[in-house]
């Protein structure tokens, strides 16, 4: 993979120029660009621990790493107090910073469904992820606070949404953030709705068509350059031009391949042409492991894991014996999914993590599960740092704590992969973010963020563009899980139930399906509980979030 990245110095200069351009007395600027981290337990890279040492950051770069360094007089000193320092993490593929499209999902009005405009067909390889990124999108902050400094962002869309950009998770504009623009081509087996290519077979055929079209287009462009006299001028074509680097094998293709089947298909598609291929958002490797090894391919594992084993549904449909057998098979399958990462490690297949369809905040708990199933912490750290750095071609500037690299560092109070660890600081190119400790509440404690506090009946009201919709919410315990039922005052006969429920530190999220005029719609609800009150949002794809609040009416009798 060819590496084309911005000269770092120019990049930094841009940032500083900007911060000096405007007088802003609402903020007080940093006094110095030098930071000295004192007495940290430094994990230079996945296999090397330096012990207690110091790190000097200057102009966003690591200036010095060593034992018992002397802090310069003009540096701000951070007392690490033996906190653990790691290279900040690198997200190998996600949609971080790109808001979900507001376009309503409606059937495009295309006369000839077999020949839709490229945009409708989901074929926009000329677009760059960086042009969609909103630097203040909440997802960027959330990823950074999870310990990440760099992300490889690919656009949202269907078959060929565009090119991936490698960005730094700091900066005051999306331009500032770009480390590598048009770094990768993002390809998915996702058909367009109602038009060609609609199915996976349509998408795969279309890809082959585009690939060879671009190949010959490029050939024609080249020969036209050499001799253009008496030859029909080849027409410019944005889509084909964008694909030329892929046909020249200088731009890697990142694919979304959730299942083993997708992996096999992606490989079969690539086999005859041989462009660099990265298999992304992999949830199931299954029988594809040998093939991965044989082809020496890179894998990005999805951080999302199957849901933990729950007691089987209350469906008495099968005789006990066969039910037992079915449960056993399910359990084996669950274990196999969780053991995949360990198996990749054993097989020597390099992998990193991607976040296309999972949340950064699940990262640690899920990696712990993988570690429980045999993955080493060294490989886990490599998958978060050195491997993605290599995959993204930025291993010269990121992925380890070494002199000259970007000052992308995290400090944790305990070794990161331990359950009780907490990230205290994240440095992204020297910019420091201190992560405030969310105080763990005692269960049913005074602050009211324990799970027990939720149990009971609540009123709610949603502000639907000015009108208040009200109703009741009943939260109860269902084994280890929560059960949420709610009834809208406008339709007291219908009880809706929440699913995909998560609860953490006072934040409750769930999804509810409602009937929106004959069409089922999923509403994602996120509520922050504080004592007997909550506030939050209800959001739906393609609509802005609606504010929501509520009060407790009653608790269950004790």
């Amino acid at each position: 993979m060819k590496i084309k990245f911005f000269p770092i110095a120019v990049f930094m200069l841009l940032i500083m120029n900007k911060s000096q351009a405007q007088i802003d007395y609402n903020n007080v600027p940093e006094v110095t660009q030098k930071i000295f981290i004192n007495d940290a337990n430094i994990q230079k890279n996945p296999s090397t621990n330096l012990g207690i040492g110091d790190i000097l950051i200057e102009d966003g770069l690591i200036k010095q790493v060593g034992v018992q360094l002397t802090p310069p007089i003009d540096a701000k000193i951070i007392e690490a107090d033996s906190a653990y320092a790691y290279a900040a993490f690198i997200d190998a593929m996600s949609h971080i910073g790109i808001p979900k499209s507001d376009e309503k999902r409606k059937r495009p009005d295309v006369k000839f469904k077999g020949f839709p405009p490229n945009k409708v067909a989901g074929i926009t390889p000329q677009l760059k992820a960086s042009s969609f990124i909103e630097h203040d999108d909440a997802s960027i902050k959330s990823l950074r606070e999870s310990g990440f400094a760099i992300a490889h962002v690919v656009p949202r869309g269907k078959m060929l949404p565009g090119q991936g950009s490698v960005i730094s998770l700091s900066g005051s504009s999306s331009q500032d953030m770009i480390i590598k623009d048009n770094y990768s081509m993002f390809l998915q087996f996702t058909g367009a709705s109602g038009v060609y290519p609609n199915t996976i077979i349509g998408v795969m055929a279309k890809w082959k068509d585009l690939y060879y079209k671009a190949h010959y287009h490029n050939k024609n462009l080249q020969s036209y350059k050499i001799n253009s006299s008496g030859i029909k001028r080849p027409k410019e074509d944005k889509v084909l031009n964008a694909l030329i680097p892929v046909t020249e094998k200088s731009m890697p293709v990142f694919m979304k391949t959730n299942k083993a089947k997708d992996i096999f298909r992606a490989i079969a598609l690539q086999e005859s042409t041989g462009y660099p291929l990265v298999l992304g958002d992999v949830k199931q490797i299954g029988g594809a492991e040998n093939k991965l090894k044989e082809k020496n391919l890179t894998v990005l594992l999805s951080v999302g894991l199957p849901k933990a084993e729950k007691e089987e549904k209350k469906d008495s449909t099968i005789t006990d014996e066969s039910k037992k057998a079915l449960m056993k098979r399910k359990k084996e399958s669950y274990t196999a999914y969780l053991s995949q990462a360990a198996q990749l490690e054993k097989a020597g297949i390099p992998f990193a993590f991607s976040f296309l369809s999972s949340k950064p905040k699940d990262l640690k708990t899920n990696i712990q599960k993988l570690i429980k199933h045999g993955l080493s912490t060294e490989a886990s750290l490599a998958a978060l740092t050195t491997n993605p750095a290599k995959i993204l071609g930025i291993d010269k500037i990121a992925g380890t704590i070494d002199k000259g690299k970007l000052a992308n560092i995290i400090l944790t109070d305990n070794p990161y992969f331990e359950k009780k660890s907490r990230i205290k600081y994240v440095f992204v190119e020297g910019q420091m973010t201190e992560i405030k400790e969310v105080k763990k509440k005692k269960k049913g404690g005074a602050r009211g963020k324990g799970k027990e506090n939720l149990i009971g009946k609540w009123t709610y009201s949603v502000d639907v563009f000015g009108t208040q919709q009200t109703g009741n919410l009943t939260i109860s315990e269902d084994g280890d899980d929560l059960k949420i039922e709610f009834i809208a005052d406008s339709n007291p006969d219908e009880i809706s139930e929440g699913r995909d429920i998560t609860y953490e530190d006072g934040n409750l999220t769930y999804v509810v399906t409602v009937d929106g005029g004959g069409q089922e719609m999923d509403i994602e609800i996120s509520l922050d509980f504080e004592g007997d009150q909550f506030t939050g949002t209800a959001s739906m794809e393609g609509m802005e979030s609606l504010p929501m609040e509520g009060n407790k009416i009653s608790s269950p009798e004790k």
């Binding site: 469904k113 109602g194 999914y337």
Partner: protein
């Protein structure tokens, strides 16, 4: 001796890893062999070595290491071949355009489809996984071997089987494109022009590239995978399998093909084939039919269950297919119906699901009968396969036992959902006769009149 075999085996297996699919050895003893091409042989053994039929004779002595099946009292026939099915694939119809020659169901094979195992449990070793019938020129198909257990889709393919493509006439493409999207074809007249137009495209495209490859033009013509495929049909590289019902449309397509010099075609369903059996025979066209489906739509209202018999007796190479994940499980029974409807002999009836579909798929030199050097695809039955009491006992693909009634765990899934314990219960609907139209409902009836 044993050592040598072991080494041979390990060499064999090492080649398996790289592209070749796994093969096996098995000796089937004392069965009644229904060879299809060389008569029935009682009390005869059949030895499969390295996935190929090595010997057929009485009293073959087993070597130490070989798996032996005692088929005493059983019937041993070639693995059943289904010339029309949609199992083992994840997409059937790219229904967005009347011509989608470039799409290929072989791109989306699904080795986890439980219907493959269920077909094996009905003695079927090979099926022709086809694109659907939404388009006049649909996608390319794939001939798959039922190697249940493999996970790499590449291992499902019957390597080097000729390429085939699905065409469709009549109501389905008209419903989707004419009625659904208000574009040509809306009639059987329009259908003809869609083919002529596409073939012209393919012809022109081939000529342009020919010029280029001879260095007569400097610039490469615009690459177009669709036209490339159409050119492949005209050159005879890709064989047409055409969904068809009515006699007139069958004649139409043969006329068009004659004009473009295409001389090979297998008509699928071809419910009114019996009306033009002499014309089909003269053209050399094949017919792959249902045993008794009719009246599920208007174009099959004037049908007869005697279709296969009439076609066969008129010299048309005929097969009986399933087009259904239900019927594929008992094609032996579907073939038996030709004895009810048309008095076919046992051998002629069995030919409809073995040798004839092999001819239609261009694989008759490799499978479709029990002959020396053919591939070791075998189905073993308790009771004669044409009896209603026939029960498949073993199904063998390339010498490997892929179905064994005594070694069947009920739950034979490979890909287990890590979250779901009890797989969903599906209410059975009455027979779905439009498997060919899978995935197209959203394209129908957008414009009502």
């Amino acid at each position: 001796m044993l050592k040598i075999t072991k080494i041979a085996l390990s060499i064999l297996f090492s080649t398996c890893l790289f592209g070749q699919s796994e093969t096996g050895d098995v000796l089937i003893k004392n069965g009644t062999l229904l060879t299809i091409t060389q008569g029935d042989k009682e009390n005869t053994d059949i030895l499969i070595r390295n996935g190929k039929i090595a010997r057929i004779q009485k009293d073959i002595q087993p070597t130490n290491d070989i798996k032996v099946i005692d088929a005493t009292g059983m019937f041993v026939m070639p693995g059943i071949i289904d010339a029309h099915s949609h199992i083992g694939i994840d997409a059937v119809n790219e229904a967005t355009n009347p011509v989608t020659a470039e799409v290929w169901v072989g791109d989306a094979l699904d080795p986890y489809d439980i219907n493959i195992y269920r077909a094996l449990a009905g003695g079927v070793t090979i099926s022709h996984a086809m694109h659907g019938s939404a388009n006049a020129i649909g996608g390319q198909c794939e001939t798959i071997k039922h190697r249940w257990g493999v996970e790499d889709p590449e291992q499902m393919r019957m390597k080097d089987a000729p390429k085939t493509i699905k065409f469709a006439l009549g109501e389905n493409p008209i419903r989707v494109h004419g009625e659904g999207s208000r574009i040509v074809p809306n009639t059987r007249m329009g259908m003809e022009q869609v083919f002529r137009n596409a073939f012209e495209d393919g012809k022109k495209y081939a000529a342009e590239w020919d010029q280029y490859s001879k260095g007569l033009s400097k610039m490469a013509p615009e690459y177009n995978i669709r036209k490339e495929t159409l050119a492949g049909i005209l050159s005879g590289e890709i064989m047409i399998h055409c969904h068809s019902y009515r006699a007139d449309e069958i004649l139409m397509l043969m006329n068009v093909l004659e004009d473009y010099g295409v001389n090979k075609i297998c008509f699928q369903h071809v419910n009114e084939g019996f009306k033009v059996a002499p014309e089909l025979a003269k053209f050399g066209a094949y017919a792959s039919v249902f045993s008794d489906w009719w009246a599920y739509k208007f174009e099959v209202y004037y049908s007869t269950a005697y279709n296969a018999a009439i076609l066969s007796k008129n010299g048309v190479v005929t097969s009986i297919n399933s087009d259904s994940r239900e019927l594929i499980r008992h094609l032996f029974h579907e073939a038996a119906k030709t004895q009810k409807y048309g008095n076919l002999s046992d051998n002629d009836a069995l030919k409809l699901i073995t040798f004839n579909p092999a001819i239609q798929l261009g694989i008759d030199d490799r499978v479709g009968s029990l002959e020396k050097n053919k591939e070791g695809d075998v189905a073993i039955f308790k009771n004669h396969p044409l009896s209603i009491y026939a029960i498949p006992q073993y199904t063998i693909v390339d010498g490997i036992i892929r179905f064994d009634i005594n070694n069947d765990n009920a739950d034979m899934r490979i890909d287990i959902d890590p979250e779901e314990i009890i797989p969903s219960f599906f209410e059975s609907s009455t027979h779905n006769h439009d498997n060919c139209m899978e995935g197209v409902s959203e394209f129908l009836f957008e414009h009502k009149h």
